[in-house]
């Protein structure tokens, strides 16, 4: 079932929770809505489900205008962050609930409901726990029951609201892999909300990055990580260092120092790079140079905090554990991969830019993308 969200807006009182959002989801896709809290991702999910009514815009399930339908008629499987299992029903009764409340004409026989529930219990690998009450299950088990219950009604789409948000790290990782398997087996079009970028990148076919009620970028995990469309996405996904720079004479400048990074256009801009995508240089004519103000061990690498230039811009870079640079007080380096965006509020750089034609990106294209190896 494809989903098409067209110009959907949602206001809560006077505050807009979602500004004119459009999004197309292909049949069978696993989509992550990723964003910080308050970005509108849960609101968008609830609008798709019909738990909220949009202030404007429409939601299509295939050719069917779902915004005209009630939540019951939409036939969506919705999984809640805190499970929302019916506490007075056994696991099997929970799973069978959606079937047992159907109108008499469409309701399967009691034995059939039970058989379906048992089948789903097997699917979520909880066979034998059917007679338990939700309170007698662990968090991870409860979420599996919640998913089985959502699957029982043969949903047209599966919607999950921070499904692993209330679970601890290890269980979360297991369930992530397990959800991917279930998705591949059942083939439901699935949309899940998360604020955990790792979860979104690992699990989703495509990631929808949201901020302040807007969609900032839609793309595969590779696209949003390697080619963030806007500074927000660069900052939000993965780790980022940023330095305000100037474009002149076909390259980037920090104060009066040329950085040896080519760029087109002119004017104020912001350089973004990832701490692990840098190479340390032993002195240079064109590079970034800074004073080491801090150093800490980070799993397999050492992370250095630097202050750059007269503005003492703080950036972070990773160096190998044994690298001699870790003990120096001055370090020169150059990003291997970087992105340049026009400085906020400065239109001149943007107009001078040569936007790279990149499909999938909905927001302003960045000034330049270079990679030297």
């Amino acid at each position: 079932m494809e989903l098409s969200i067209r110009n959907v807006r949602k206001d809560f009182g006077a505050t807009p929770a979602l500004h004119e959002v459009s999004l197309d989801i292909r049949s069978g896709e696993l989509i992550a809505l990723l964003g910080p809290s308050g970005s509108g991702k849960t609101t968008l999910l609830r609008l798709i489900a019909g738990l909220e009514a949009p202030s404007a815009g429409t939601v299509f399930f295939g050719e069917d205008d779902a915004s005209r339908r009630s939540v019951q008629e939409r036939q969506v499987g919705f999984v809640f962050q805190h499970y929302a299992l019916f506490r007075h029903m056994t696991v099997l009764e929970n799973i069978g609930f959606g079937l047992s409340v159907r109108p008499r004409a469409q309701r399967p026989a009691r034995a059939e409901i039970r058989r379906r529930a048992e089948e789903l219990l097997d699917l979520v690998q909880l066979s034998g726990l059917g007679q338990r009450y939700p309170a007698q299950l662990s968090g991870g088990q409860r979420q599996r029951v919640a998913l089985a219950r959502a699957l029982a009604i043969e949903p047209r789409v599966l919607l999950l609201d921070e499904p692993f948000g209330a679970l601890d790290a290890q269980v979360r990782k297991d369930l992530r892999r397990w959800l991917r398997e279930i998705h591949d087996r059942t083939g439901h079009t699935t949309v899940f909300v998360t604020h955990d970028q790792e979860e979104a990148l690992e699990l989703a076919d495509r990631v929808v990055v949201m901020s302040q009620g807007r969609i900032e970028q839609v793309g595969t995990p590779d696209e949003v990580y390697d080619r963030p469309a806007v500074p927000f996405v660069h900052r939000f996904i993965g780790e980022s260092s940023q330095v305000p720079v100037r474009i002149a004479d076909g390259q980037l400048w920090l104060d009066d120092r040329a950085l040896g990074l080519p760029a087109s256009g002119s004017g104020e801009a912001v350089l973004f790079f990832r701490p692990h995508q840098v190479e340390v240089l032993s002195g240079c004519g064109g590079c970034l140079a800074g004073t080491v103000t801090g150093s800490r061990r980070l799993a397999g690498t050492r992370r250095l905090e630097l202050e750059l230039g007269g503005g003492r811009h703080r950036v972070e870079i990773d160096v190998p554990i044994e690298h001699p640079a870790a003990t120096r007080s001055q370090i020169s380096f150059r990003p291997r991969t970087w992105r340049v965006y026009p400085a906020a509020g400065d239109g001149s750089a943007a107009t001078a830019a040569t936007p790279a034609p990149e499909p999938e990106q909905t927001a302003i294209a960045p000034l330049a993308l270079y990679s030297i190896r």
Partner: protein, 291 residues
């Protein structure tokens, strides 16, 4: 503190929040003494006073026609007031616990009004509303409906006074439970009624039962408001508490305490019922709360 307690002794405590055995014994004794003086002794006094002249006199006071009429009226009033407040209480708690709307805080205050206002005033309100000087009273009277100094007035006053019990019990419960369960049921295709019947109601059933029992106890025991609207017509508009007062004022102590013992027994039965239910369904209640 000149004498410092020897260090190892402090270590004998089971946990940081537990007290020494002496302090514990003292606190428990204090609580028991207070309970005995304030609760247990008066209750025993009622029963001993009721049986002072023997079981025969006790029984005679109870099967006397006016007493029987008072018992019947009390039960009738409770039979109206409790179901009405069951429905109103659930509806009010549902609205407050599950929806956001303007004036919600005001509505909560309004629900508390019967608790904060003296029962006598609650009764007087109905006298003002339905009395001969009011607009409604003469109109209803001309259509043959007596409210004041009749059963409808007593029921109304009792409903007013006992309104908060069920609502108050359910509001915090429903607010805490939120709307996720209902949303889950709706997304699974359940209708509004099915959701209420299969999801909301089971979630609140213990709180509801508790509220109903308290509401019932108060409905049978209400004195002030009922006293104002009843008119004290023997055998007609006297509930048990009013009947007891009349007997008492006539220095008919034995009969007064006999009826009082029956009223107290009704309250005790209510409490025993509640405890029995709690014991019977302890596991289930824990499961519901602990989720």
């Amino acid at each position: 503190m000149a004498d410092v307690a020897p260090f190892p002794r402090r270590l004998t405590r089971a946990s940081a929040t537990s007290e020494s055995p002496l302090a514990r014994a003292l606190l428990i004794a204090l609580a028991l003494a207070f309970l005995s003086v304030v609760l247990l002794l008066p209750l025993l006094a009622v029963f001993s006073e009721a049986l002072r002249n023997g079981v025969a006199a006790w029984a005679a006071a109870l099967i006397e026609p006016d007493a029987l009429a008072a018992v019947r009226l009390t039960l009738i009033v409770a039979a109206f007031a409790v179901p009405l407040n069951l429905v109103f209480g659930v509806v009010a708690a549902w609205a407050i616990g599950k929806f956001e709307f303007k004036g919600k805080a005001f509505l909560i205050t309004l629900i508390d009004l019967p608790f904060s206002v003296s029962p006598v005033i609650s009764g007087l309100v109905y006298v003002l509303l339905f009395g001969s000087g009011s607009l409604l009273g003469p109109f209803l009277k001309s259509h043959g409906i007596e409210v004041l100094f009749a059963v409808p007035g007593i029921v109304l006053a009792t409903v007013f006074v006992t309104f908060p019990f069920v609502a108050r019990e359910l509001i915090p419960l429903m607010q805490e439970q939120g709307t996720a369960d209902e949303e889950a049921a709706l997304s699974l295709g359940a209708s509004g009624w099915q959701t209420f019947w299969h999801v909301t109601l089971p979630n609140i059933r213990w709180g509801l039962l508790y509220g109903v029992l308290l509401c019932n106890a108060r409905a049978m025991g209400e004195f002030g408001a009922v006293s104002v609207v009843s008119g004290h017509i023997r055998g007609l508009t006297n509930t048990m508490p009013l009947h007891i007062e009349i007997l008492y004022n006539e220095y008919n102590f034995a009969a007064a305490f006999a009826v009082a013992s029956l009223l107290a027994a009704l309250a005790l039965v209510t409490l025993v019922l509640k405890t029995a239910i709690e014991l019977r369904y302890a596991g289930q209640m824990a499961a519901v709360r602990g989720h």
